[in-house]
C-alpha cells in the first residue's frame, strides 16, 4: 500500500516502529465487510496519504485567530500541529507508549498511529491544576495535499480533582489532511472530568478520533462531542466504568452536509455495580451526507444496580441524506435499568407551515427548527466562550 511505503520512505527507522507498520499492512484497511465499518465508507483516498515531515510554518492567519482566542488569564492552550506539540504546558511528561494502548481496538488505524509514536505525551492533573481553562488545539498545517498526522496523548486526573478540557480539531489550511488520534484518560477516585470536543472543519479534514476513558470509584465524566461537518469523521468513544457510583454522561451532536460522512461509535462498559451512564446523541443530515450512530452498552454480570440510558435522534433535511443508527444493549446482570431509543425523520411540515404563515421564509423556518433541535445539547455546555464559538459555526451551517 502506498501509504505504508510513503511512511517508510519519509521517516528514519529510529523514530519508526516498523513492526507496527507491518502489522497495519497485515490487518488491512477496514472494508464494508468489517462489522464496525459496515456503513462507514472511507470517502477519501487514504492509500495516497503521506506523513508530513516538513518544518511547521506557524505564520498562519487561521492559527493566529486561535492563539488570540486563548489569550485570557487562566487560558492554557496546547497546540498540536501535524502531530507535534508546539508549546509546553504545565503537567506535561513523556511516557512509554505500551501501557496506554492496551484498551484500543487493534485495527489498521491503531497500528498506523503506533508506528510513528514511540513515546507519547502524558499529562497528570491534580488539585493544583483546577480552575484553569485547558484547551487542546489539534490542527493541521500542511503545505501539500494528503498529509497524515498520528497524535497520541494520555491523561491522568488524580484523586478528588475537578477539571475541564476543551478539544478543538481543525485544519488551518485548505489542504486535505488526515488526523488519526488516540487519547486515553484515567479518572482516579472521586475525579470529575468534563470534556468538550469540537470537530470543526472549515476546510479539508478527515478525522479518526479515539477516546478511551477509564473511570474509578465515585468519578464523574461529562463528555460532549460536536462533529460539525468534516469531510470524514469517525469517533470511537469507549468508557470503561471500573468503579462504583460513577456517572458517565455522553452528549453528541453531528451535522453532515454535502457528501460528508460522520460516524459515532460509542461503547460503555459497566464492569462494576451502582453506576449510571447516559448517551444522548442528535444528528442533522443534509444534502447527500451520511450519518452513522452505533451506541453500545455492555453491562457485566456483577454490575448490578446499573442505570444505563441511550437516545439518538436524527433529522434529515434531504431525501438523499442517510442515517444508520443502531443501539445495542448487552446485559448480563438482572437488577438493572436500561433503555434506548432512536428516531429519524424529516422536518415537521406542520411546524414549517405554522412558522411560514407568520412571515418567516422556508429557509429561516428550517434553521429555527434545526436550531431548536440542537439547542438542547448546546445548553448542556456551561463554558460561554465555547458556546459562542459553536453557535457561530452552527449558524453558518443551518
Amino acid at each position: 500500500m502506498n501509504l505504508i511505503e510513503n511512511i517508510k520512505k519519509s521517516l528514519s527507522e529510529n523514530i519508526l516502529n516498523l513492526s507496527d507498520l507491518e502489522q497495519a499492512l497485515k490487518v488491512g484497511l477496514p472494508n464494508p465487510k468489517t462489522e464496525s465499518w459496515k456503513y462507514t465508507p472511507l470517502n477519501f483516498p487514504i492509500s495516497n496519504y503521506e506523513i508530513s515531515t516538513k518544518e511547521i510554518n506557524s505564520q498562519n492567519i487561521e492559527l493566529f485567530k486561535y492563539v488570540e482566542r486563548f489569550s485570557k488569564e487562566n487560558d492554557i492552550p496546547l497546540y498540536l500541529l501535524n502531530g507535534e506539540i508546539l508549546n509546553v504546558i504545565p503537567n506535561l511528561t513523556k511516557t512509554n507508549i505500551e501501557k496506554q494502548y492496551n484498551y484500543f481496538i487493534k485495527d489498521f488505524f491503531y497500528y498506523l498511529n503506533q508506528s510513528t509514536n514511540k513515546e507519547i505525551y502524558s499529562f497528570v492533573f491534580d488539585k493544583s491544576s483546577e480552575n484553569k481553562n485547558y484547551s487542546f488545539i489539534v490542527g493541521a498545517l500542511a503545505e501539500d495535499d494528503n498529509f497524515l498526522a498520528n497524535t497520541s496523548l494520555s491523561f491522568v486526573i488524580k484523586k478528588d480533582t475537578e477539571i475541564e478540557f476543551d478539544f478543538y480539531f481543525t485544519n488551518f489550511t485548505k489542504k486535505s489532511f488526515l488526523q488519526n488520534n488516540y487519547f486515553s484518560f484515567k479518572l482516579e477516585e472521586n475525579a470529575k472530568l468534563k470534556i468538550n470536543i469540537l470537530e470543526d472543519d472549515p476546510n479539508q479534514l478527515n478525522l479518526i478520533n479515539n477516546f478511551y476513558l477509564d473511570l474509578s470509584d465515585n468519578s464523574q465524566l461529562n463528555l460532549s462531542v460536536f462533529a460539525i461537518d468534516g469531510i470524514f469523521t469517525r469517533n470511537n468513544i469507549q468508557v470503561d466504568i471500573n468503579g462504583q457510583n460513577c456517572d458517565a454522561l455522553l452528549n453528541g451532536l453531528y451535522i453532515g452536509t454535502k457528501k460528508n460522512v460522520v460516524d459515532n461509535h460509542i461503547l460503555v462498559n459497566h464492569n462494576k455495580p451502582n453506576s449510571h451512564s447516559n448517551q444522548f446523541f442528535k444528528g442533522i443530515l443534509e444534502d447527500k451526507s451520511r450519518g452513522i450512530f452505533n451506541g453500545k452498552v455492555h453491562v457485566k454480570k456483577d454490575a448490578q444496580k446499573t442505570n444505563a440510558y441511550q437516545s439518538n435522534k436524527n433529522i434529515l433535511t434531504s431525501a438523499d441524506a442517510q442515517i444508520f443508527t443502531k443501539p445495542e444493549l448487552e446485559i448480563y446482570a438482572d437488577d438493572v435499568k436500561c433503555s434506548h431509543g432512536a428516531t429519524s425523520g424529516f422536518l415537521q411540515e406542520n411546524e414549517m407551515f405554522y412558522l411560514m404563515t407568520r412571515g418567516i421564509s422556508r429557509e429561516q423556518s428550517k434553521s429555527l427548527l434545526l436550531k431548536a433541535f440542537v439547542n438542547e445539547l448546546i445548553q448542556k455546555i456551561e463554558n460561554s466562550n465555547y458556546v459562542d464559538w459553536l453557535d457561530k459555526k452552527i449558524d453558518n451551517l443551518i
Binding site: E349, N350, E351, F353, Y354, L355, M356, T357, R358, G359, I360, S361, R362, Q364, S365, L368, L369, K371, A372, F373, N375, E376
Partner: protein, 248 residues
C-alpha cells in the same frame, strides 16, 4: 373596496375534492362569519388561503388586494397581510415565543422596507400587546405553544395577530376552548385592532362569539360550498334551528 375575492375555488387533498367551488368577497372594514357543520371544509378553506401545500387547488382564483396569491408561499402571503389564527395551534419545542414573534415581525418590517426592531423596543411592544390579550408575559419566554393549555394557545394566536397587525385575519374557531372571560378578552382584542382598512373572517360554531364580534355577513359552509349567506340574524336563526332546514 375589495380586499379578498375568492372565485369558484376548488381544492383537493390526496385526490379527494374538499372545496367544491367557493365564492366569497370581503371588503375592507368588514367582518364575515363562516359557520357550518363539522367537516364541511371551513379549516380547509382557511388553510388554502394561508397557503398550505398539502391542498391542491384545481380550479378558481383567490385575489388579495387584486393580486393572485395562489402561487405565493405562506410567508409571502403573511407579509402581504394575510393572517391565520389556527384552530389547532402548533407546538414548536425549543423555539421561544419571543424569538419567534420578533423574527416574524422583522420579516414583515423588512418586506415593507422598514428598519428592523431593536430587542428593547420589541420587548416593550410585545408586553403592551400581551397586556391587550391579558397574557402573562412569562408565556413569552416559553417555547411556542409548548405545554400551553387550549385557551392559552388561542390567546397566543391573538397575540401574534396583534403584533403583526394583518390586513386580513382569519380566525379559525378561536373561541372554542375559551372560558367566558377569555372569550371577551379575545373579542376585545379583535375589536381594538379592527379599523376601516382591515377585515376579519371569523370561523365559529357558536353564536355567542358574534355577540362580541358583530359580523356584517354570516355564511354557511356545507360540503365544500357556501350554501347560504345572510346578516347576523342568520347566526341567531342557526343557533335556534340548527343546519337541517338549510341543508335539506
Amino acid at each position: 373596496m375589495s380586499l379578498l375575492k375568492i372565485n369558484n375555488l376548488k381544492a383537493n387533498i390526496n385526490g379527494t375534492e374538499i372545496l367544491h367551488g367557493i365564492n366569497l368577497e370581503v371588503n375592507k372594514g368588514e367582518i364575515h362569519a363562516i359557520m357550518g357543520p363539522n367537516g364541511s371544509g371551513k379549516s380547509t378553506l382557511a388553510s388554502v388561503l394561508a397557503g398550505k401545500k398539502e391542498f391542491e387547488v384545481t380550479e378558481g382564483s383567490v385575489l388579495f388586494r387584486n393580486q393572485n396569491v395562489l402561487e405565493l408561499e405562506p410567508d409571502e402571503r403573511s407579509k402581504m397581510g394575510i393572517f391565520l389564527a389556527f384552530q389547532y395551534p402548533v407546538e414548536i419545542p425549543g423555539v421561544s415565543n419571543m424569538n419567534f414573534l420578533r423574527t416574524a415581525l422583522n420579516e414583515h418590517k423588512k418586506y415593507r422596507g422598514e428598519e428592523i426592531i431593536e430587542p428593547g423596543t420589541f420587548l416593550k411592544l410585545v408586553r403592551e400587546k400581551a397586556n391587550l390579550v391579558k397574557m402573562d408575559p412569562k408565556f413569552l419566554s416559553r417555547a411556542v405553544n409548548e405545554g400551553f393549555s387550549g385557551g392559552e394557545k388561542k390567546r397566543n394566536e391573538i397575540l401574534q395577530m396583534a403584533v403583526l397587525e394583518p390586513t386580513l385575519a382569519i380566525l379559525d374557531e378561536t373561541d372554542s376552548g375559551l372560558d367566558i372571560d377569555a372569550l371577551r378578552i379575545v373579542a376585545e382584542g379583535v375589536n381594538t385592532l379592527r379599523n376601516s382598512e382591515n377585515a376579519f373572517i371569523v370561523i365559529t360554531h357558536y353564536q355567542r362569539l358574534l355577540n362580541y364580534i358583530v359580523p356584517d355577513f354570516v355564511h354557511v359552509l356545507h360540503n365544500g360550498k357556501i350554501i347560504k349567506s345572510g346578516t347576523k340574524d342568520l347566526a341567531l336563526e342557526l343557533e335556534e334551528k340548527g343546519y337541517d332546514w338549510i341543508i335539506n
